[in-house]
Amino acid sequence: MHLDGKIPGGPLPQKWERRKLEYALVSPANRRKYRVLVVGTGLAGASAAATLGELGYRVECVFFHDSPRRAHSIAAQGGINAAKNYQNDGDSVQRLFQDTIKGGDYRAREGNVYRLAEVSLRIIDQCVAQGVPFAREYGGKLANRSFGGAQVSRTFYARGQTGQQLLLGAYQALLRQVQAGTVRISPRTEMLDLVVANGKARGIVARDLVTGEIRTFVADAVVLATGGYGNAYFLSTYARNSNATAIWRAHRRGAYFANPCFTQIHPTCIPVSGEHQSKLTLMSESLRNDGRIWVPLRAGDERSPEQIPEDQRDYYLERRYPSYGNLTPRDVASRAAKAVCDEGRGVGKSGLGVYLDFADAIRRLGADVIGERYGNLFAMYAEITGDDPYRTPMRIYPAIHYTMGGLWVDYDLMSTIDGLFVIGEANFSDHGANRLGASALMQGLADGYFIAPLAVGSYLARAKPPAIDDSHPAFEEARKATAARIERLLSVHGKRTAASFHRELGKLLWDQCGMSRSRAGLESALARIPELREKFYREILVPGHGESLNRELETAGRVADYFELAELICRDALRREESCGGHFREEYQTPDGEALRDDEHFAYVAAWEWREGEPPVLHKEPLVFEAAPPMQRSYK
């Protein structure tokens, strides 16, 4: 199959305008006739469902949380980018576009990224109008901060709770539509399969997590906004219940999966403290505005940080990347941390940690100013570790944080299945091989408020999907297949918990397909994952039954899908014989240890097609760079 990104013609600044004119419209009176199913209520899903409801479509919104407001987006801390140039520091749509393309290491589509930068302006307007309490200057205007990978201040924030406040804005807009009767919500309902009838996405099969009932939802178009798949690695900064089942099931039904190996490792997380650990906590990137990162100059130096004099410290980011310093992008900062720890210079009990030190900033600005900027993050750190960051440097280490890869979509955010749209972190679109800080929130809201509602409308106007109900054989087949999968998990009666398998798989992925990857490591992982999966189906133990709230059953189903996904992640990483962004292959690096990209052979989107019982097939969508010609990505 030929992959057509459907990028509109013409110069970059005119593409989106042009596409909007090309879109077919549904008249207001006819919109009520169409049913749109939105799965997920994070920034992407809530904003899309609310906007589709406002337009007058009949929207059904399904999510596994107990309230739409609890989606994982709620946890985003640092901020959201927009090219407003309120700071008069030389920002513009063009510059945000260039930073994002370069930050993504030239593995994203120019057309999409340019549109993202353009739409960013309106997102801030919309959120302010909804009452999102962004930080303000004394004059009453909006405040900004800087994030990694940019030399301008374009990040808008609401203390360390930006995701929370943006999500509440979208959630409130969504509930306003629920009240108005345009949107119906189904909480505690988990999508377990996609239904494709006559070549078009027509609904889903889902399990009511309270009663265990297997339900079907019928629609004229389906929008997946189910978030990223980083929890395949077990330990990550994701919420515990974030999972890949929705996109994985859609993949198995025909949606191509793009760039699965592009996973992001965040440099500033609280290091692992023990075996029991259930998740890793992020310390926002914004801390790197004022904190300085260092390790002892000498390996094995076990003195406490206060006892190490200035000239025996290595501020390695400032040393290696003088122009960006502590604000180098995430992939670069994470690898640099790994490098110093590999040299034996890591700090803390495990030796897997580096210092993030605020002493200079506190001296310069005072503890009050620092407290105002980062107070809640400092408190969170103190609660978890028992250390006080006002007195002693934080200890941080990289952790899985975000997935740039996801279901393949064209410029209109439609997957390779007609009528299946994928938005937010669940798609692969705008971040290439590495996402810049504060750009996920921007993308989620751009997709949800401003792009998907128009694209979905145009699809409905053109495709005019015929009436269908859940007696169609495709629904029957999907329902049966789902019930059979559940039955299989319940009937093994083995001896191991789903969590124990998940932990084992996660460790394998982290070791072989984490911060650095090699042919040998990936090949060994590809040999071990199927063995582990077989063991899973022999030894899994799920107590209870399917007809009630059963957390073990939920987890087991998600872990089952991670096995297949993990294999695809490794396969993609093996196939991509270059280093770019978050994907670092040890075989491909410059003499000073920087990523060595290979534009001649790998300037493409890798889109994988599922084949039952045989290896997946790779399809390539070539990437063309006209406005931002690829350069070696240097932050020196």
């Binding site: 949380h65 946890a75 309106r122 909804q130 309270v210 029991h276 957390r551």
Partner: protein
């Protein structure tokens, strides 16, 4: 360290519940209380027993999914922390902890420590928003908001809808939760046009859900993991009263065409 748990187990709303004791030897001070529950649960599963059902997601105090009573205190002994942020270093070695669900008429129990809090969504749906469709917004910096106002709005907007205030309240009142949203939007220029209507509708929705009246017992403020201050309740009462006095929310007077025959009173 050793921690014993007495956990409320109840398979369904129809069946009776009871406390069940679990002894744990694997506890360590760096472990969170929820991680201890994970450990207990893995043991139960390995024995083929049903694990303790409890809700959690972010495990960093922001999503509001977690929450139960620990020794009679909503979210446990720490001020300004949700249950997921409570680490075992805050307990004594050998201590026994009683865990039971948040109890309120408007929070029906689902299983063990899991409850249904969708009543809170319905209070927001009644009016906890600014009515602005996507695309309607003016350029963001055309409205200026004094920094203090923005900060106060943010203080109130920090609510995570966990329901602890309700569980802690002798009247099971949702005043702190409702007041927090009313205050958040009421502090901002964007929230002004609907301010009275919002207060009326949200307060009435809370009553209709079966939440009690506020008698200023003050338990909610102490239980709140986000330290939402009692002032939000004062603000709510003020907005509600002002709206009532202005006659907002009453049926609008009908316009009468000249010449229409007058009816008897």
């Amino acid at each position: 360290m050793r921690i014993a748990l007495e956990v409320w187990r109840q398979r369904s709303p129809e069946e009776p519940g009871r406390f069940v004791r679990y002894e744990t030897a694997e506890a360590s001070p760096d472990m969170s209380l929820l991680e201890l529950l994970d450990v207990v649960n893995e043991d139960l599963v390995r024995k083929g027993e049903e694990p303790i059902a409890f809700d959690s997601d972010c495990r960093e105090g922001i999503c509001g999914t977690c929450g139960f009573m620990v020794n009679g205190l909503a979210h446990g002994p720490l001020k300004g922390a949700a249950a997921c942020q409570v680490y075992l270093r805050n307990f004594r070695d050998g201590e026994t902890l009683f865990l039971e669900p948040f109890r309120a008429k408007a929070f029906p129990l689902i299983k063990d420590l899991v409850i249904n809090r969708s009543a809170l969504d319905r209070i927001i749906a009644a009016g906890g928003y600014v009515s602005v469709n996507t695309g309607n917004a003016p350029e963001a910096n055309t409205s200026t908001i004094p920094k203090d106002f923005a900060e106060e709005a943010m203080d109130a907007a920090a609510c995570i809808a966990c329901g602890a205030c309700i569980a802690a309240c002798p009247n099971a009142s949702a005043a702190l939760f409702t007041g927090a949203k009313i205050t958040h939007l009421g502090k901002l220029p964007q929230g002004q046009p609907e301010r009275g209507r919002r207060a009326l509708r949200m307060v009435r929705a809370a009553a209709a859900e079966g939440f009690g009246h506020c008698t200023f017992a003050g338990e909610c403020e102490t239980a709140c993991p986000k330290s939402i201050p009692l002032q939000v309740i004062t603000q709510m009462n003020r907005d509600y009263l002002a709206a009532r006095l202005r006659g907002e929310g009453r049926a609008p007077t009908r316009h009468i065409e000249p010449g229409t025959p007058k009816r008897r009173r």
